[in-house]
């Protein structure tokens, strides 16, 4: 196991400030505390080379988990091992094994050109020159960083910066990579090239990747395994297909237009109870669950009726995830 977290919990203590001048004076003397359970009892195991999509609504505890795995935060309860190391007790050793990209915060030096930032990281991580050169060349080429490598980070566009960030996080050949909303705010082109790059790194270098994102397309294209966290607890851990079959009931549909007036649409006996029909004149939408195959349904329809504009929809990941978040 590359990542082993069990019974992981993190509480935040928030000091509540009173309202107005009197309240402020009062809270100086006796501040009221509120404990927020950001993460409670999270168990997460990841094998080497796995790419896990870690999703959940805002404030669910995704970043807090990543921060505990990367040695930034000390867990209130539970144990963490990353590559067999306790990230809090041996923070520096852990830092050599992991790389991290936080979409909301930069890891780079604001005033330094990208190339100098890379050089500084080389010294910090004691990266052998040969390996460093190989990595820089590969990343610069693949992510097209060369075009802005001499510009200070503060002058880069978000897309350029994120490409530099992910390259910077991989220079020291980490075994584990944490990507916390790496595609946030990026345009479609950059998103696609980021995804391709993440895929490539995962495949070619066998880097274990934990990815959080609100863009479900990232998840669909990258993650075979999905962990859903909500209110600090893991609500689901499994494959995309399992997630869909568990939460996608009534999320599949076949829509079409009838070419003649039909009083009532009837479907084979064996499908009974697994579908509902919504109809508005000749416009028909049949919602069905996983027991009914869309192609069987269409075959059955075509035998009886003349149809056009057939539209088949599988479970939309957005709907599925919304369903999980609600539960």
């Amino acid at each position: 196991m590359v990542i082993e977290a069990s019974g992981l919990a993190k509480d935040y203590v928030i000091h509540l400030k009173g309202k107005g001048l009197m309240g402020m004076a009062k809270s100086l003397l006796r501040s009221e505390k509120k404990v927020v359970h950001a993460v409670q009892d999270v168990n997460l195991n990841m094998e080497e080379g796995e790419l896990v999509g870690y999703i959940g609504p805002n404030g669910a505890g995704k970043s807090t988990t990543i921060k505990m795995l990367s040695g930034i935060l000390t867990p209130t309860k539970g144990s963490v091992r990353v590559c067999g190391i306790d990230p809090q007790k041996k923070r520096i050793q852990n830092a050599m094994n992991v790389g991290a990209v936080f979409g909301q915060k930069t890891q780079l030096w604001w005033d330094l050109p990208v190339r100098e930032t890379f050089d500084l990281l080389r010294r910090m991580y004691n990266i052998p020159m040969e390996r460093y050169k190989r990595n820089v060349d590969e990343f610069m080429d693949y992510l097209d960083i060369g075009a802005f490598a001499e510009q200070p980070v503060r002058q880069l566009s978000l897309g350029q910066r994120m490409r530099a960030e992910i390259a910077a996080s991989l220079l020291h050949d980490p075994k584990v990579l944490f990507l916390d909303e790496p595609t946030i705010g990026l345009d479609v082109n950059v998103k696609v090239s980021m995804r391709e790059f993440v895929k490539k790194i995962n495949k070619e270098r066998n880097v274990t990747i934990l990815l959080t994102t609100h863009d479900l397309q990232d998840i669909e294209e990258l993650a075979k395994r999905i962990v859903v966290i909500n209110h600090g607890q893991v609500g689901f851990d499994g494959s995309m297909e399992e997630l869909a079959s568990k939460y996608a009931d009534g999320k599949r549909s076949v829509s079409f237009t009838l070419q003649q007036d039909v009083p009532e649409i009837t479907l084979p006996e064996k499908m009974a109870g697994h579908y509902t029909i919504e109809r508005e004149g000749r416009q028909v939408k049949i919602r069905h669950d996983g027991h009914v195959n869309a192609s069987d349904l269409i075959v059955a329809l075509i035998q009886k009726y003349r149809l056009k504009d057939i539209d088949i929809r599988g479970p939309q990941i957005e709907d599925v995830v919304m369903e999980v978040y609600r539960s």
């Binding site: 935060l73 000390t74 520096i92 909301q104 890891q107």
Partner: protein, 267 residues
């Protein structure tokens, strides 16, 4: 920490600092103003010293130029601290903005990251002023100086800077609880004023405080006593090393404890 690791940090420090200077130098006006202001501040204190000594030729067995030497040593130590360890003033900001995350992800000590992230070039103004004052005083006093003493002087000044830094770091670490620790830092910074003069001129309580609790006495008074042949007690020549070592260890332990309380920011 092994020798190898120490060497690694010594090599890394100039790289980090030169990057930070690149940023500072782009505000050249600020730089010269800062250096000028710090020389002016030190000079004003010096004028005060001179004014007092016009009336009283000797205080507690310390002559004018001996006092000047103490004053100069404190200026050098303070200046070195300001120059090397200016980053400690940013701790509060790092915590408030959650940017300590960035430092915690690096495979290097966080205290090192904190002080190597910034440089207070204007501290060099203090150092130059202190050196000038000390050398003047040494010439006037005609104290015998040897290579050994010169080395001790260097070590003592670095120890002094480390003592200031340690106390500063402990105050800065309070930011993990109160989110803004600058007022505590300023309070202790002001305590450093006491070490501009031989601490024997203060009451007993203050002397104990400046020796055992906030050991600023070891930044100037004690080593100066040894350098000027006024005392050869171990507290004068070994004291600075012990005080610096103890203070640094205390700061390190407290810093580590404080890091465990870090809450970062957002989600």
């Amino acid at each position: 920490m092994g020798v190898k690791r120490l060497w690694f940090y010594l090599k890394l420090y100039p790289c980090l600092v030169s990057k930070s200077i690149q940023g500072t130098m782009s505000y050249k006006g600020d730089f010269f103003l800062g250096a000028g202001a710090s020389v002016l501040m030190q000079s004003l204190g010096f004028v005060f010293l001179w004014a007092v000594f016009r009336e009283i030729p000797e205080i507690n067995g310390w002559s004018f130029y001996q006092m000047v030497f103490v004053y100069g040593m404190s200026a050098i130590s303070l200046g070195l601290n300001e120059f090397l360890f200016a980053g400690s003033w940013n701790v509060g900001r790092y915590i408030r903005e959650g940017s300590l995350d960035r430092l915690l992800l690096r495979p290097i000590g966080t205290m090192f990251s904190v002080f190597a992230d910034d440089v207070g070039i204007h501290g060099l103004g203090s150092v130059l002023f202190g050196l000038a004052v000390c050398i003047t005083s040494l010439c006037r006093l005609q104290v015998g100086f040897s290579v050994g003493k010169l080395l001790f002087w260097l070590v003592a000044m670095v120890c002094g800077a480390l003592i200031f830094f340690s106390v500063n770091m402990i105050c800065a670490a309070l930011a993990f609880w109160v989110t803004d620790s600058q007022s505590a830092m300023i309070l202790f910074q002001n305590t450093s004023e006491f070490c501009k003069y031989p601490i024997t001129i203060y009451g007993r309580g203050l002397q104990i405080l400046l020796t055992y609790i906030i050991p600023f006495g070891f930044c100037s008074y004690y080593p100066a006593g040894f350098l000027l042949d006024m005392s050869s007690k171990p507290i004068c020549w070994l004291g600075p090393l012990v005080a610096a070592g103890t203070a640094l260890t205390a700061a390190k332990l407290f810093w580590r404890f404080a890091l465990g309380k870090y809450q970062s920011g957002g989600g």
